[in-house]
Symmetry: C2
Subunit: 228 residues, 2 copies
C-alpha cells in the first residue's frame, strides 16, 4: 500500500526536518548520506528516485542543488506517520485472560476473611471482598505467560502478617473486569497452592451467584494497565 519505498521514509523525514516542506533547501548528496547513515551514492539515488516518483522536486543552480518536498511527498509521509501513530495508540490498555471456572470457592474463603487481610482489603481496595476466591483455569499458554507479564506491573500490595500461630504471605491485587462488566480483582499470592495455569479472583459479591456463572463456564478477565 505504501507506494513510497520503505527505504525512502527516513530520507524524506530528514529532508522534512531540514525544512524542505515549503522552501527549497540546499543540500549535497554526501551530507544527506551522512544524515541517513548511508553513502553519498545511496543518498544521490534516493533523491533521483524520489524525484522520479514525484515525492520531491529539485532545482540546480550550477553546483548547488535545492530540494523541496512536494504535496504528494508530504501527504505520503503524513499517512505513514498516521499509520504508525494509530497502531501505537490503538493498543488496548489491558491484559486479557481467558479460561474456565474451576473448583468451588473452597479454602480461599478461610484466608480472605482473616482479620489481617480484611482490614487491608477494605482500606486499599475499597471494599471487603466476598469470603472466597473464584479460580479460573487458563485456556492457553499465552495466558499463563500474560500472568508473568502482569506481575511486572504494579498492583495493590496487601501485606502479609502473623497472628502468632502462623504467618500469612502477601497478596497482590490487580483490579479487573470479568466478562467486561463485573468489577473484581485478580490476586496473586506469595504462597499459592495452585499451579501457574490457575488464577484467582476476588470480588465484593459472590461472583458465581451474581453472574449465573458456574464451574466450567468460559470467562474473560481484563486487567487494565496504565501504559506509562
Amino acid at each position: 500500500m505504501p507506494e513510497l519505498k520503505v527505504q525512502h521514509i527516513l530520507t524524506l523525514a530528514e529532508l522534512l526536518a531540514k525544512g524542505a516542506r515549503h522552501n527549497f533547501v540546499t543540500i549535497t548528496s554526501s551530507s544527506l548520506g551522512k544524515s541517513i547513515n548511508k553513502s553519498q551514492q545511496a543518498a544521490s539515488k534516493h533523491l533521483l528516485e524520489l524525484e522520479r516518483d514525484g515525492y520531491l522536486e529539485r532545482i540546480r543552480s550550477g553546483q548547488r542543488v535545492s530540494v523541496r518536498i512536494t504535496t504528494k511527498g508530504h501527504t505520503e509521509m503524513t499517512r505513514i506517520s498516521a499509520i504508525l501513530k494509530s497502531s501505537l495508540d490503538s493498543s488496548p490498555s489491558y491484559i486479557e485472560f481467558k479460561g474456565t471456572i474451576v473448583s468451588g470457592m473452597g479454602e480461599g474463603a478461610y484466608y480472605m476473611s482473616t482479620r489481617g487481610y480484611e482490614k487491608q482489603f477494605k482500606s486499599k481496595l475499597g471494599y471487603t471482598p466476598f469470603p472466597g476466591t473464584l479460580n479460573v483455569k487458563l485456556k492457553d499458554k499465552e495466558f499463563i505467560e500474560a500472568k508473568h507479564i502482569l506481575e511486572a506491573h504494579l498492583g495493590i500490595m496487601i501485606n502479609g502478617f502473623s497472628d502468632g500461630k502462623r504467618t500469612y504471605g502477601w497478596v497482590k491485587c490487580y483490579p479487573a473486569k470479568i466478562n467486561n462488566s463485573i468489577e473484581a480483582a485478580l490476586i496473586t499470592l506469595e504462597r499459592t497452592h495452585h499451579d501457574d495455569s490457575v488464577i484467582e479472583l476476588i470480588s465484593r459479591e459472590n461472583i458465581k451467584k451474581a453472574t449465573k456463572l458456574s464451574t466450567g463456564s468460559q470467562i474473560s478477565i481484563r486487567v487494565p494497565i496504565r501504559s506509562k
Copy 2:
C-alpha cells in the same frame, strides 16, 4: 541509529494494530504476509528476526502461534513514530524569499494610489499602503520557483476595475514579514511589468525609510502559510 530494520517497521505496526502490545495475539505467517503485502515466507522471516532481536516474543501451542510485542519493540516503534511526527511538525509554516532591493519605488506608486485599489486595500488588508512598491530581485532559481508555489496558495484578492479610460488588473496580496520584523504584503499582479525574478511588496510605511534599507540591500521575505 534505528537498530530496528526499516523493513520491519510495517510488520511491527501491523502486529501492534492487531493488539499485540500487551496480549498475545494469535497469528499465522500467511495472514501476516497478506497484511504487509509480502509473502508468507517473508512474514515468517520477519517474525523470526524480530524475535531474535528481542522486539517480540512468540508462544507456540501446537499449530497456533501467538505473538506479543516486547517493551523494546514498543519503545522502538514509539521512537520512530516520534521522529516522523516531529519531522512533519517541524516544517516551517512559511515560504521564504531572499533577494536584493532593486529600482526605486517608481511606477508602482501610481497604481497603488488609484482610488479603486486603495478602497480595497483598506478593507481587505486593513490599511492603506504607502504609495509605491518595493521591488526585490530574487537571488536564486529556487525563489522564483517558490513564487509559483506561493501562487498555489490562497491570497487576498484585490479585484481589478475600470475607470472608464482604462482597466486595471487584479492584485493578489500575501501578508509577509520583511527581515522577520516589518509587516508587509507580497503582491502578484495580473498584469506585471517585471519578469519572474522580481517580486513586489507593499507596506503601510515607506519600507526603505522605515528600515534604512536601500537599493542593493539583501533582504528576506517570509510569507506565512496555513498548512491546511
